[in-house]
Amino acid sequence: MAETKRKTNRAPAKRNKKGKDNKWNKGPHLPNSLKKELDSLNPRDISDEEMQSDDDIDVYEYEEKVPDEELKKNRSIGLMDDEDVASDDEDGEDEGKKGASDEDDEDGDEDDGGDDDDDEKHARMLQDITGLPGDAFDGKKKKNNDVVFEAYPESEYNPSRDVLDGDGRITIDDLLNPLHGKSGFSKIRKDVQRIDKKSKSVLPPLPKPQQEKIDRKSTYVYSKKKLTEYEPLVKKNREAPTIFFDEDIDVGYSTVGAIASEFRPRTEFEKKMDLLINAKELSDAHKSDGARLLELNKVSAEDVKERQDRLAKMRSLLFRHELKSKRVKHIKSKTYRRLLKKDKSKAGSIDTEMDPEAAKELAEKQEFKRAEERMTLKHKNTSKWAKRIKKRGFDVQDDGTRAAISEQLQQHALLTRKRNSMHDGETSSDDSMDDDDEDISGDEDDASKLKLLEKGKKRTLEVLEEDDDVPKSGLLSLPFMVRGQKKKKEAADEEARLALEEFDSSLKQLEGDDDVKNKNIGSLGGRKVFGAQKKQVSQSKIKVNNKDNYFDNSDSEDDGDITEDVKDKHDRINTQKDVTIDTNILREESEVGHDPLFKVSFDDISKDSGPKIEYDVSLVHTNTSKKKRDNKKHSNRVESGKKAKVMKPEVVEPAAKVMKSKVAEPASNKDVDIEHGDDDSDTDGEIRMVDGVITSGTDYELPSQDDLIKRAFAGDEVEDDFEKAKQEVLNEEIPEPEKPVLLPGWGQWTRIQKKRGLPSWMLAEHERAKKKRDEELKKRPDSHLKHVIISQKLDKKAEKLQTKVLPYPFKSKEHFEQSNRMPLGPEFNPATTIGLLNRPEVVKKPGVSIKPIKLKK
């Protein structure tokens, strides 16, 4: 028994070395003779030494002389141990091979006791699998097989050295053994065996870096998968025209009720109220049928009585007061009323002194009274009574009446004075107004106005007379400044003169009807002002005209020019009237005839005259300016004859078409005429008249159709015109090179220059330029097209409305244009679509933090 134990104990010791060594456990149990036989049968390259050592051990083992049967039994257990160990050690080691070998072992153990065969097979198999020589597996066998004798017999009280070292591990078999023979042992054993069989083989661990790499790979695959889950959501967000980040925000309370429910009493009063309102009894009563509310409503009898008394007292007081006021109201005594009023006013005056509110009221009342006085003139002896007294005469009256009347007048004076004094207070800044005129009457008013007017007149006169002196030096003496000043002064003078006139007229009016009442003067003043305004308007018109003149004549032309222009104009009018008269004669005549008149009229203008003449001037002015324009145009045309026609080659002037005689005339003349026709209908009419005279002179015969057409298009050189126009365009776009010009005396003496002519390089350059131009002309797309002009000129204004390249996200031109087709503005779209069209890409609210994306499941 002890021996068997030792065997079992030895097995774990070996196990500890290395998994592979376990397979060689069975070695010692082979009888030598058998082994030799086996070796001879299937020779291996296990070294003899190894074998020898094995033999040694075997020999030693054999010395024990363990019966075969027992050995077998033990061995099977030992093997079981090995398997267990193998399965224990699985983790983290090279499992595949070992597992396989273990299974093999098991099989061997199961079926029979042919151990030797088994061992051999096992060895071979190992060799096959690993490809290593057999001795590789024997390596540490020697060491493992050391057996140390125990000093004491082994028992649970004397644990073996292995156990003491802590190396010994308890296997399942160790645990199972004691159960041997008990009920259920075989079942457990079978289970254990089955589990062992089923246990899968595990690969040996890879080297660490490799292992980590694999881990990372799997991790990456996993996280990639996780990240890909977001893809549809992200894609949706990216493709959405707008993403919203202002959704589901808790802004706070939305209703009054919600706010009220959150109310917490803070102050003493609020707390008290809260205590009363939310008293438990009350709320309970409310919750139940409410009958108890009446009970809670109970008031003490004393309280009720007190309240009733108070109410009764108040009521009686009110009643008495009512009675009293009724009685007072019925009193008719005037004295009483007067006294009452006095009392009241006294109280009022005290009041006014006391508080500003009352004072304000009083002032208002006074104001009202004054207004009433002004309206009714109650105290101005207008009453029936006063009139009668007036009629009868003051002297006849008794003292009382006189006193009454004087009092009344005084009252009136008082009221009006009050107003005046107030008025003065308001316009105290006006120095012309005098405060000292105590007597207030319409006449006085007139007088003051007179004075005022006179003063104004004087002032204006002063202004008119002064500052005729022009500064001799400095900035103001510069010619244009002087001119400007002059202009300004003229304007000012004009104004002053007007004002003067106004003053005069008003003065006259004032003097004319002196005894007009206040009211009348007021109204008259209004009318007067209106008249003055009218005049001012006309005046301003004149001024404007003057200005215009000024600007037109800015090229150092004086006012005298205008008169000349006027003359010209008259000349022309005359020519229009009768064509046969020689213009020169007419000019002289008109000069003689109209000059004085116009001079006079112009003087009148400068001296301020009626609107009619002014109108005349303006007319003259516009005409003259037109004339000037004509002149300018004429000169322009002389310079660049055909330019005007180039613009529109196909449009032929109607006048030119019709009139043959005109066509025959030289080009410049014709142009002028046409221009005249455009500008001035009068002159056009003249031409026609001339034509009419000519046609009417000949015998009239109805021409044939062909003839008519021929005649109609006789002078029509459309093709020529077009060619000319094209040439014009070409010249403009690709200008002809300038001809070489010889500067006399430049670079050489003139005589030498004359002799030699132009230097050759100049000519060469000119030639080159010409050639270049020809080439460019040939390159033009319209070079071979006779009837077409294709302008190569770029429109710079249109250029800025176009992109040079297709913008980035767009794939085609059509796509881009399509995207821009619909306007966005509120003028072009109804309000329902405007928001959609203009919505920005990201809608967010400032002050609301945005949370990162979350996957919705």
Partner: protein, 452 residues
């Protein structure tokens, strides 16, 4: 005789209040308005000009630190709160609305290199070169107005000393974890004094770390070995790494597109990657003339802001190759950190000159309450501008930016350099056997390899 008249019901055209708008009825027949395009073009032009007129992006500077600002963090739960850490170990909480320091967190011995706030806004995590990770309590939003810079004991929650200096920290979105970067990447829990996990891949220092806000278990780091690495917390192992030719200083994930992130590179460019395919960048964002130091995405995911060593802050579209906006002031020095505010309407930059600067994200945006009509008008102007932005005149006005002279010159120089490089390569290609020098795209040629 019948007379045709326009009949309108009085009810429809009567205003309820005197300040109501008059109802306008329009005929939308396009034949009546033939000049619509011209009209809108002019409006676009005017809008573009007005944009320039109203472009006043700088709101104010926040002064208070006494050393360069190295890092910032925004409070995800409180819009006004921004934290900044400086090189002298000072951490401050700023109230952006009043642009004042609310409180300070003294404690760090060396430079503060990383700051981050938990998603609930309660805990501030800081780390620095003094090898400590510190957790601080953030004052509540209600009490943020009161300035109590007194004792730090009630603010400091914990302080963990670790083996190496830290360079960056970032907090997971809606989680308990945060990651620090230094010699390795450590994952910490709020309640543990030691990292719950740590990742080491290669021997080089990790410079920056950023969690993916959309997918909170994934984060990316950049290292001094010029790599960008993606990690997954669920499998406790790194996922992938890509090596570039130059170092990446910072990374930002797109909060609306969890698969995409943008890396701020040392070579003046930013590279947008799809984390699922790191073989080539999705987009290269060029414009800076010096190393890009920090990057942060707008919460809308449509644009991001970068701060550069060239003293400018730029705003890019998430898919745009060039910047939409450049911000600079005379006094702003090297920008070390930038943040987009949580409502996507402000940008905050922290720079070497010890100041934080607050900018508008849209330079010409009108701040304050905007009435509906006003908003509609703005929207219309924006739409018109957007439509006609390709036309030369409008484009010119919209693109025009004033640049500081050094940056203008540097960009010109860079342009000439790239041009000459390209010329050289073209010539080489022309003189070598056809097919022997394949063209590599800009999106690829800065990537050395993808490491699995």
């Amino acid at each position: 005789m019948r007379v045709k008249v326009i009949s309108r019901s009085a009810d429809e055209f009567t205003r309820e209040r005197s300040n109501d708008l008059q109802r306008v009825s329009r005929n939308y027949d396009p034949n009546l308005r033939t000049q619509e395009k011209a009209v809108e073009y002019v409006r676009a032009l005017n809008a573009a000009k007005l944009d320039k007129v109203f472009a006043r992006p700088f709101i104010g500077a926040m002064d208070g630190h006494i050393d360069a600002i190295s890092c910032m963090a925004k409070n995800p739960s409180h819009l006004k709160g921004v934290f900044s850490g400086s090189m002298d170990g000072d951490i401050r909480l700023w109230d952006i609305a009043s642009r004042k320091t609310v409180c300070q967190y003294p404690g760090h011995q060396g430079a503060v290199r990383g700051l981050t706030v938990s998603t609930d806004g309660r805990i501030l995590v800081s780390c620095g070169s003094d090898c400590t990770v510190r957790l601080w309590r953030v004052p509540l939003a209600s009490g943020i107005e009161s300035d109590d810079s007194s004792d730090s004991s009630d603010k400091s929650l914990a302080s963990y000393v670790w083996k190496n200096a830290f360079l960056a920290v970032d907090h997971q979105w809606e989680g308990n974890l945060f990651a620090t970067a230094g010699a390795q990447v450590d994952i910490w829990d709020h309640n543990r004094s030691q990292p719950v996990n740590s990742f080491k891949w290669g021997n080089d220092t990790v410079i920056s770390v950023r969690f993916n806000p959309g997918e909170p278990n994934i984060f990316a780091t950049s290292g001094s070995d010029r790599t960008i690495a993606v990690y997954d917390l669920r499998s406790s192992s790194p996922a992938i790494k890509v090596e570039m030719r130059t170092k990446t200083n910072s990374i930002a994930w797109n909060p609306m597109e969890p698969m995409n992130f943008t890396a701020a590179n040392e070579n003046c460019n930013c590279y947008s990657y799809d984390a699922r395919n790191l073989k080539e960048a999705k987009c290269v964002h060029k414009d800076h003339v010096s190393a890009v130091m920090d990057i942060d995405y707008s919460p809308t995911g449509r644009e991001f802001v970068t701060g550069s060593y060239d003293r400018t802050v730029r705003i890019f579209q998430y898919n745009g190759g060039h910047s939409r906006e450049i911000y600079h002031t005379k006094r702003m020095q090297r920008v070390f950190c930038v943040k987009f505010s949580c409502d996507a309407s402000y940008v905050i930059s922290g720079s070497d000159d010890t100041n934080l600067r607050l900018w508008k994200a849209k330079a010409s945006e009108q701040l304050g309450v905007i009435l509906p009509r006003e908003r509609k008008k703005h929207e219309y102007m924006e739409a018109v501008k957007n439509r006609y932005k390709h036309l030369p005149e409008v484009k010119r006005i919209l693109r025009h930016r004033h640049l500081p002279k050094p940056i203008y010159k540097a960009s010109a120089l860079r342009r000439t350099m790239t041009d000459s490089e390209k010329r050289k390569e073209d010539r080489r290609r022309a003189h070598s056997a056809p097919g022997s020098m394949p063209k590599t795209s800009v999106r690829k040629n800065r990537i050395v390899q993808e490491i699995e």
